[in-house]
């Protein structure tokens, strides 16, 4: 016995998964009919288009916007670009630059479909081979340096300045961090482009850029060799540029991306179809490049009550799981989320927390699930907050969680100071070590509170999923079934960037990914 168990109603578990599958099957049909500007930009990025204009607009944005303007986007960005490459005998970057400089692709002659397809496949294969190499290198580094024991200690840096982030990340790794996430600048999720280059000014976080990824990656690999354990790097494939960020992350060897099928819709008011489509492509990329996704179920509990709405976390996890399966992801990459967010004044709140943590653990037994710390009930009493984090860390080691986002004692006050992060590690290092094998030594009472509560939450999740299956996920979101937030299918940000694929639509990267991942549609 390597952790305690609870018995879940097996039939109910199967039924819940079946419901989630039906729900996502419906949505996937819609996804298959759509593409988005970010998907197309991701294709260009993977083909090798890089750089920005003098006004700091990424070339990929200029090109996609032009092609859209020329009403050629419904076929996908690949065709006209590759056509130009062949006709003009230029590489993709040169073509993109030419477009920026005024080249009108409509003016070019069309090469044969065969020629076009051959070239597109070649470019896609080259691109994916590059990614494959990168992920193989990371695998081997992980083997060489060794994987730290779970739960991994996950810490955030958020200075706004990538170079200062590096200093703080290095210190955190020395103190024991296993995973470093660079929080993005507040506004980035609503930007319909990916900023460029190294950045030193951010707002509550640091911009996610390819160069920033590279700088942090190098710093973490340096430190990893120094401390002799592999250090994982995290960013966000979330917001309006999911597919592009996933592409850049794959190219720069990131390990984990925050990526949720519904977060953007609910918490950032991004159009549903945009988000569903983007998440699919971004997950294909993650699946292929071995990037773990972390879903955002913790967010449900920052607005809703963590006991009353525990089942929404479970329902969302199951939906995220099915979407991930559709994108060819294996359980080992599915870092489904949950959180320790129950009001600390509740009698036996800890029993609820244990129960909810066990439910997630049992449902997703070998998944690298991600556990989020108390935030909502953290107050300016940093001492009490530190006590809450102690129990949070204990529940994690006791129930066998995988990824532990460490709680920060000043959560209610400011983004973490350097020593706030240190103290978070002091706490986790103490608890994880001091209670290392507790989970092998305890059992929860059969048919006791913990087991019963977990089954009850599961039942409530099934009820929600049943209703969602009946009305459809889009309708359920319109009704406000998730997080008490209602969004309309024709509303939200980024709608203008969604388009219906034509019959002639081609996305060679997607095709190649689907082929290799065995999810060919």
């Amino acid at each position: 016995m390597d952790r305690p168990r609870i018995r879940l109603d097996k039939k109910l578990v199967d039924y819940a998964r079946e419901l989630a599958k039906e729900i996502t099957d419906q949505v996937q049909e819609m996804i298959n009919q759509h593409s988005t500007v970010s998907v197309e930009r991701a294709v260009l990025r993977l083909f090798g288009v890089d750089g920005v204009t003098d006004d700091q607009i990424p070339l990929v944005n200029v090109v996609v916007d032009k092609i859209k303007e020329w009403e050629m986007l419904q076929d996908g960005v690949a065709k006209p670009i590759v056509n130009a490459m062949i006709v003009l005998d230029k590489n993709v970057q040169e073509v993109a630059e030419a477009v920026v400089d005024g080249l009108d692709l409509r003016s070019l002659p069309r090469v044969s479909d065969d020629k076009l397809n051959l070239k597109m496949q070649e470019l896609s294969r080259q691109s994916l081979e590059k990614i494959e190499k990168i992920s193989q290198y990371r695998e081997s580094l992980l083997k060489e340096l060794g994987d730290p024991p779970q739960p991994y200690k996950y810490l955030i840096v958020a200075t706004g300045n990538i170079y200062e982030d590096v200093v703080q990340a290095r210190a955190a790794v020395k103190q024991g961090a296993d995973i470093i996430a660079v929080i993005r600048s507040t506004a980035q999720s609503l930007l319909d482009y990916v900023p460029y280059g190294a950045t030193t000014e951010g707002y509550g976080g640091t911009y996610a850029t390819q160069e920033n990824f590279r700088i942090m990656r190098q710093a973490l690999d340096d430190m990893a060799r120094k401390v002799g354990r592999y250090i994982r790097q995290v960013n966000y494939a979330s917001g309006l540029c999911m597919p592009e960020i996933a592409a850049l992350a794959a190219l720069e060897g990131l390990d984990i991306l925050l990526n949720d099928a519904m977060y953007g819709i609910l918490f950032r008011d991004i159009n549903m179809i945009r988000t569903f489509t983007d998440q699919y492509i971004s997950r294909l990329l993650c699946a292929f490049s071995g990037i773990t996704i972390n879903t955002g179920e913790d967010n449900y509990l920052t607005t809703a009550d963590a006991i009353e709405k525990a089942h929404t976390v479970t329902a969302s996890q199951l939906i995220n799981e099915q979407f991930a399966i559709k994108a060819g992801m294996k359980p080992r990459l599915m870092g489904l989320g949950h959180a320790f967010e129950i009001n600390p004044d509740i009698e036996d709140g800890l029993l609820y927390e244990i129960s909810h943590a066990m439910l997630a653990r049992e449902l997703f037994a070998n998944y690298p699930i991600k556990y989020m710390p108390p935030t909502k009930f953290m107050t300016g009493n940093i001492f009490k907050g530190y006590a809450m984090e102690t129990l949070y860390n204990l529940v994690s080691i006791m129930t066998g969680q995988s990824i532990q986002l460490l709680g920060i004692l000043t959560e209610a006050i400011h983004t973490p100071y350097l020593h706030d992060r240190y103290l978070a590690l002091v706490n986790a290092n103490y608890v994880f070590n001091n209670a290392r094998h507790l989970r092998q030594e305890i059992a929860f009472k059969e048919n006791g509170f913990i087991e019963k509560r977990a089954n009850q939450v599961l039942k409530e999740a099934v009820n929600l999923l049943e209703h969602t299956r009946d009305v459809g996920l889009l309708k359920a979101i319109e009704e406000g079934q998730f997080a008490d937030i209602s969004r309309q299918r024709n509303g939200g940000k980024g709608l203008e960037g969604v388009f219906r694929k034509s019959e002639n639509y081609i996305n060679p990267i997607q095709d190649e990914l689907e082929k290799r991942l065995g999810v060919r549609r």
Partner: protein, 248 residues
């Protein structure tokens, strides 16, 4: 404990000992020089009897300290005039009755988190039925008609709503305070209210965990409510303040 308000000083284990706990990080390599620098720093703040309780190596030439010290500094609290929203506490029933009697209509309240701020929980806990800490929210009162616009509302949208529903009161929430973004956003709203000639007719109230009444007044608001506010405080303030306003 009866204190001499003229001479208030921190209390550790006896009156007047001036005991304070500090923690901070110095950007200096862990070692004896760091220790001495920390001590000098505390001396420069005016502390004596300095105990470096711990000094820990954060790596990358940073050192963390927990320190206890004693200070002779004291504050004359007897001369402090506290600024806080003024109202006497009446029950919900009393307020509802009072409004019924004096206004003979509902007081119209528009609430929003303005600007880039996406935090709604604080505002909701003042407005929603459920309220906060067992204290019912404004929607539960017969006295109020509440319009809750949610988060990331621009001043222009907010003002549009105010006109549309002929509001008596605006409640704005501001939670994110990094780089003083809240001050920027609150100033913008107030300027627009004046520009639109609406300021006089309205009670304009701001709340949030780092909002103080003092700050609110400085920015031209009628009141500021901070951490731990309960809806009934706000309800009482609104009703009593409007009564004053109309009786003038």
């Amino acid at each position: 404990m009866m204190t001499d308000l003229k001479n208030v000083r921190p209390y550790g284990d006896q009156l007047g000992d001036g005991a304070v706990q500090l923690s901070f990080t110095l950007p200096i390599e862990y070692g004896p020089l760091a220790r001495e620098t920390a001590k000098r720093f505390c001396e420069a703040l005016g502390f004596q009897d300095i105990t470096i309780a711990t000094m820990e190596d954060l790596g990358e030439n940073f050192t963390f300290f927990v320190i206890y010290g004693k200070t002779a500094v004291s504050v004359d609290a007897s001369s402090i005039k506290v600024v806080a929203p003024k109202f006497r506490k009446m029950t919900r029933e009393q307020l509802d009755e009072l409004v019924q009697r004096e206004f003979n209509r509902k007081i119209v309240v528009v609430g929003a988190t303005i600007g880039t701020d996406a935090h709604t929980v604080g505002l909701d806990s003042i407005l929603n039925m459920k309220g906060f800490h067992g204290d019912y929210g404004l929607e539960r009162y017969h006295a109020f008609k509440v319009y809750n616009m949610g988060a990331q509302v621009s001043p222009v949208e907010l003002i549009k709503k105010v006109r549309e529903v002929d509001a008596d009161v605006i409640l704005v929430s501001q939670v994110v305070t990094q780089r003083n973004v809240h001050i920027k956003q609150l100033t913008e709203l107030m300027d627009l209210l004046y520009a639109e000639g609406l300021r006089e007719d309205l009670l304009v109230i701001v709340g949030g965990p780092r909002i103080t009444h003092e700050l609110a007044l400085e920015l031209g608001y009628d009141a500021g409510f901070g951490a731990g506010t309960v809806p009934s405080d706000v309800a009482n303030f609104i009703v009593q303040e409007l009564l004053k306003k109309y009786s003038h």
